[in-house]
Amino acid sequence: MGIIELKNVSFDYESDNTLSRGVKNLSLTIEKGSFVVLLGHNGSGKSTLAKLLNGFLLPGEGDVFINGINTKEKERIFEIRTKVGLVFQNPDNQMVASIIEDDLAFGPENLGVPRDEIIKRVDWALDAVKMSEYRSGTPYKLSGGQKQRIAIAAILAMLPEILILDEATAMLDPRGRAEVMETAKRLNKENKMTVIHITHYMDEAIDADEVIVLNDGEIAIQGSPEFVFGHPEIIKEAGLELPTATKVAGLLREKGFDIPLVLRDEELAEAVCQLR
């Protein structure tokens, strides 16, 4: 049994007639410690899925289990929200306090964590996102990437087992995106954190353990990055584009060059160099 289990989950937004942003009959298992990237165009159900995972939304049909706890168990909702940390798109709208360390302490304070333990957690979380020197500063002068790292640290201070980045890189410049991705990958490797990264940047899916593509609330394809990006027709149908290197390799292949499936720019360069 995985840390996250979805069993035949359906969810509909009642008032939304134009766009069905819900999810349909979704079954999914996510293993502890894995790095999962969830792809999908706008309105494909990505964010709905994220909100189903920490109990913001409850499935109309089916069940969501986090560590074996059903999100429908109302009295354990805070246990679930502590386990599943959700980071949103806009870092400015996630910060509560004007001082960074106060903001990090907000989650543990709400949970009634003893003060000594909060101090330890704030220290650890700031270190985990490499922002320790900004501890007593304000967030106003930070870059987008730094702010988003603080938002991640604020979630980490609650010691979650699962970190969900709900389009957390969507508003950032390339450097900020790289910072956030690097942080997420490090947390996954060093702290064995289960990370679910929701994005529409294909490049961010390359290093994932598993890629899930959502289309109209259903899983279009799921598997290793090589497997998923080896099916360009499904990616296209889901309204997405392949990573640049994969796309170029595919176009070259159409022209009769002998180039294998590649994901990274370096791999493409390597393959092109070996052409005769």
Partner: protein
């Protein structure tokens, strides 16, 4: 626009007054206000002035910033003084009299008394906001109001509302800047025309601002929930306010001040045979 507005008029320094506990400062300011209202004799203002000068020196805030607060209320002070001079009744030593207007020594002294009271009140309270960050002030108020929890006043929610408001002021200012630039790029004119025309020109700024503020509020509500807001009534505190020797010194000095004022009130009547003002 300046981002410094977040900190209100806070003047950063590492002084005796800055290091005092915000709760102590709040209580002392309330006691100080009471003391100023207790004053019955002009001589007592000397004691208050000495106390204020000591407090300003102990805060290392430039005198100029302190006096700035007085400049703001100068019109009110002058206006009340003039009204007091003309409408004070019951004076006996007439200085000037013409038709129905009569100015007495007592009226002048009373006007002076009121003006000094206003000025001293403003300087004292300004010193609090100059030496305490809004965050500390919020913490202090929350702590002082915590007994109200017994009668089900949501003290913590109020404190969170205050700190979120403070946190979003600079963000919204930035947003106004952005929207104004965007509207200017579309040919909006905010600078010319009369008052009504200019107010109308601001409408295309205010509407997007409100929409964005509501969207932010929505996201913030989710973020608060994601961080288990209200998970337990036994919420803990990361920053603990601590009373120190400085607060004790402050309390003692203010106690002496109040005692001195009370003594002056009681004895000067007898010593000099008359009193000023009320």
């Amino acid at each position: 626009m300046s981002r410094d507005i977040t900190f209100g008029q806070f003047y950063p320094a590492n002084s005796f007054v800055h290091k005092m506990d915000p709760r102590a400062k709040l209580v002392l300011v309330i006691a100080y206000i009471v003391a100023v209202f207790l004053v019955k004799s002009l001589y007592s203002y000397i004691a208050i002035a000495v106390f204020l000068i000591a407090a300003v020196l102990g805060s290392r805030v430039p005198v100029k910033s302190v006096l700035k607060s007085v400049r703001g209320i100068l019109v009110i002070v002058i206006l009340t003084a003039i009204l007091n001079i003309f409408f004070f009744s019951g004076g006996e030593r007439v200085l000037f009299s013409w038709w129905k207007i009569k100015i007495t020594v007592e009226a002048l002294l009373f006007a002076l008394h009121m003006a000094l009271r206003l000025i001293f009140l403003v300087i004292g309270t300004t010193l609090l906001t100059l030496t305490t960050t809004p965050m500390n002030l919020t913490d202090g108020m929350e702590s002082l109001m915590s007994p109200l929890k017994l009668i089900k006043v949501p003290v913590h929610d109020l404190a969170i509302i205050m700190s979120i408001a403070l946190r979003f002021i600079p963000i919204l200012i930035e947003e106004v800047d952005k929207i104004m630039l965007a509207q200017k790029a579309r040919g909006a004119d905010f600078e010319s025309g009369g008052l009504i025309k200019r107010a109308k020109a601001l409408l295309p700024v205010l509407i997007p601002l409100f929409i964005s503020a509501f969207r932010r509020a929505d996201e913030l509500a989710l973020a608060l929930d994601a961080r288990c807001y209200n998970a337990t009534p036994k919420r803990t505190k990361y920053k603990v306010l601590k009373l120190g020797w400085r607060d004790a010194v402050g309390v003692i000095i203010l106690a002496i001040l109040i005692a001195a004022i009370a003594a002056v009130n009681a004895s000067f009547w007898g010593l000099f045979g008359f009193s000023f003002g009320v």
